[in-house]
Amino acid sequence: MTGAYTIGAICAPAAVVAVELTALRTGILRRGRFWATIAITLAFQVPVDGWLTKLSAPIVLYRPAAISGARWPWDIPVEDFGFAFAMITLTLALWERVRS
């Protein structure tokens, strides 16, 4: 049901949000522009990640025990969206921090 990747995909976004709120403190999470960027990049993740994870010819393969088994849309393990959210949020928060 819940593999190591499932746990990581839940904890990583929470950890990045905690880093932003306590250490980076850019205020990015309160900005519409941040959430619009998240929406756009996660939307583009679907065709890209969909191609990488399609079960008919996968480029990335997952040990079944490591994931929940929920794959949507197409064959994308839902965990990938947690990974992507965490990575993009950290990227944008650091960018804001570096530029200010």
Binding site: G3, A36, T41, V60, T91, L92, R99
Partner: protein, 101 residues
């Protein structure tokens, strides 16, 4: 050609987002210092996760659809992924910032 698949996916991400810098006026590639200061920590954190996961066999990469060049057990394509995806997100964020100014 199969071996080029992962690299071509990344190249298409770069190609699709490049006009955001060139045409739409995002300044991401043109701020190399800020870009490095952002991307290096992200790479460090998420490549570590990737390395541990691959080491523990949580996921792995097709030998057929990657070129076969590996650094520390990860395909070069996967290393590039950690540069390409953050840049795509930054270009999007910067274009949205320009639109709202």
């Amino acid at each position: 050609m199969d071996g080029w698949q992962y690299l071509l996916v990344l190249a298409s991400c770069v190609a699709v987002t490049l006009p955001l810098e060139i045409v739409a006026g995002a300044r991401v590639y043109r701020r190399p210092k800020a870009l490095l200061a952002t991307v290096v920590p992200v790479l460090a954190v998420f490549a570590c996760w990737d390395l541990v996961a691959v080491h523990q066999g949580e996921w792995w990469f097709s030998a057929r659809y990657t070129l076969g060049l590996r650094i520390a057990g990860l395909p070069v394509e996967e290393w590039l992924f950690f540069l390409v995806v953050p840049v795509c997100a930054l270009l999007t964020y910067e274009v949205l910032g320009r639109a709202s100014r």
